[in-house]
């Protein structure tokens, strides 16, 4: 029996579930949107990737020297590998080197999270996306959770991935996985620290993004926030000859926490790590307070 299916509007036959995890779709969309433009990805993730590769080779060379085997670089002796071997000779302690590398990477994470986080709420407001979101069964906390997951995704990659890769390389390079036995706990601690670092700075960045209407303004504001807190903490510390003033800078606190979590040297910071945790959690709580207030206004103005 012939059938025609020419009706222009086809009613929806599927079911409309009460999916509480609907906001994950918003997070996925956020990540998809951010990865569309390739250039920023290359600029922001290129250098850390290269640094990770080189540093992994150095760790490999270090363990090879310890085991008395002369390291054989994959593509035959090249100037780069000679330098790496030379450097490996002066390395004191693998774990400490990993810590220092980790710190260098976490500074780079600031930039990554600032770039991806700045536009998340600012561009939504400028382009009126909140009109579309809040006409949906999406609660304010759902919206914020999705935005936070997006920035955590990029921050996490930037800070956790390098540390993990190097730990894995160290594990395989160390003689019969000695690294895993002695320093095995370093891997979970790296992941934990990376997530904390991305979470804290991600929250601050989102709060700044919700205060401005344009991505560029949010970027400048985040730079100013970072610049001024660091400058103030350094000036006060020098003036008062008291390094506890370094606690005013978020980034110094994170280094202190890193020192404690990854058993690294704690340079000029000798205060009790609980203080750093207090400051960091305080700043994160303030960021989330700003976020909830701004999103409440965003929903009403939808």
């Amino acid at each position: 029996m012939a059938r025609t299916n020419t009706e222009v509007y086809r009613p929806f036959r599927g079911t409309l579930g009460a999916r509480t995890l609907g906001f994950l779709a918003l997070a996925r969309a956020g990540i998809a949107a951010a990865t569309k433009r390739k250039l920023p990805l290359v600029i922001l993730f290129g250098p850390p990737a290269i640094a990770t590769v080189i540093f992994s080779f150095v760790v490999y060379a270090r363990f090879a020297l310890e085991a008395g085997v002369t390291p054989s670089p994959l593509g035959g002796p090249s100037p780069a590998s000679m330098i790496a071997v030379g450097f490996a000779k002066q390395m004191i302690q693998v774990r400490e080197e990993i810590f220092m590398f980790h710190l260098a990477m976490s500074l780079f994470t600031l930039l990554v999270i600032a770039w991806f986080g700045a536009g998340l709420i600012a561009d939504d407001r400028r382009l009126g996306a909140h009109l579309l979101y809040f006409a949906r069964p999406l609660s304010r906390s759902g919206y914020l959770a999705a935005k936070f997951l997006t920035v955590l995704f990029f921050g996490g990659i930037a800070v956790v991935a390098p540390g993990l890769v190097i730990c894995i390389v160290a594990t395989f390079a160390s003689p019969d996985f000695a690294f895993l036995r002695d320093e095995g706990s370093l891997i979970p601690r790296t992941i934990l620290f990376g997530t904390l670092w991305a979470g804290v700075w991600g929250s601050v960045m989102l709060a700044i993004s919700s205060l401005f209407l344009r991505k560029t303004l949010a970027l400048v504001a985040s730079f100013a926030f970072f610049m001024i807190t660091t400058a103030i903490s350094v000036v006060l510390a020098n003036l008062q000859q008291d390094d506890r003033f370094l606690m005013l800078s978020l980034q110094m606190n994170m280094q202190r926490i890193a020192g404690w979590m990854l058993d690294g040297p704690s340079m000029r910071m000798h205060w009790d790590v609980r203080w750093s945790f207090a400051v960091v959690l305080g700043i994160t709580a303030a960021a989330w307070a700003i976020l909830f207030a701004r999103v409440r206004r965003l929903e009403a103005s939808a």
């Binding site: 344009r214 560029t216 303004l217 970027l219 001024i228 400058a231 000036v235 006060l236 003036l239």
Partner: protein, 259 residues
């Protein structure tokens, strides 16, 4: 039809009353208040001498961070604000020379920035002088150069960023790049290329006219100093050059607003 002077005066007077009541002004107030607040804190709770507070905070925080940032926030908006708010069509359909839009609004921003920075410099010095700790008094040798460098620095920086607003689409980012990346980098290089930074001339003014208290500030005595007058003259020339370039550009350029 109003000439350059008349229309510049008109825009200056109107903008003057508006520049104080915007969110941007709020940000500037917060920036300006940072240094004096710190000076009060350290004077009240620290055991550091007033002169040391004034010179350290004055140089390391006020002149190197607050002056460029405040001038950036206020200066880069001189023309960009009208473009982003898309109200520039009203001004550019009036029988006035377009340069008066840049000059008139810049003068208002200049008065705003100079007032804030002058108050910041004076209050920092005053609050620092109340410190109980022994040490040299916060005399004119500290206050005058700080005031002069802060106001002159604010003026030059705001002119540079106002001109950037006419040349570039994102003057804030370009300004930030210049003030903190380029100047920061060049300032540390030995030799003549320090002369390309505004900071060098501010340091010359403070270095030659200030009292010895300034010398103890960490990293202050690095470079060779020009004389104070040649520094001031150079800054004045830089200011005029940037404003002239901005005026020429704003007259020639078409401002096509996105729909």
């Amino acid at each position: 039809m109003p000439g350059l002077a008349a229309s510049t005066w008109l825009l200056f007077r109107t903008q003057l009353s508006r520049v104080w009541w915007s969110r941007r002004a709020l940000a500037c107030l917060a920036l300006a208040a940072a240094t004096p607040a710190l000076a009060w804190l350290v004077a009240a709770f620290g055991e550091v001498s007033g002169a040391e507070i004034a010179t350290n905070l004055g140089w390391l925080l006020l002149l190197q961070v607050i002056v460029p940032l405040l001038a950036l926030v206020a200066g880069s908006a001189v023309v960009t604000e009208e473009i982003e708010d898309r109200t520039i069509s009203y001004l550019f359909s009036r029988p006035i020379p377009r340069a008066s839009v840049l000059l008139g609004r810049w003068l208002a921003a200049l008065l705003f920035v100079s007032t804030l920075l002058a108050v910041a410099a004076l209050s920092t010095a005053f609050l620092a002088s109340r410190s109980a700790a022994p040490g040299p008094a916060v005399g004119c040798g500290i206050v005058v150069p700080l005031l002069e460098a802060a106001v002159l620095g604010g003026a030059v920086y705001s002119a540079i960023f106002a001109a950037a607003g006419v040349f570039f689409r994102h003057p804030m980012i370009v300004g930030l790049g210049y003030a903190f990346a380029i100047e920061g980098f060049l300032a540390n290089l030995p030799g003549r290329n320090q002369a390309l930074t505004v900071q060098y001339y501010l340091r010359s003014i403070v270095g030659t006219t200030g009292s010895d208290a300034w010398r103890e500030v960490e990293g202050f005595e690095l470079s060779r100093f020009d004389s104070a007058t040649s520094a001031v003259v150079t800054l004045a020339v830089v200011l005029v050059l940037f404003l002239a370039a901005g005026s020429w550009r704003i007259t020639r350029r078409e401002f096509v607003l996105s729909a």
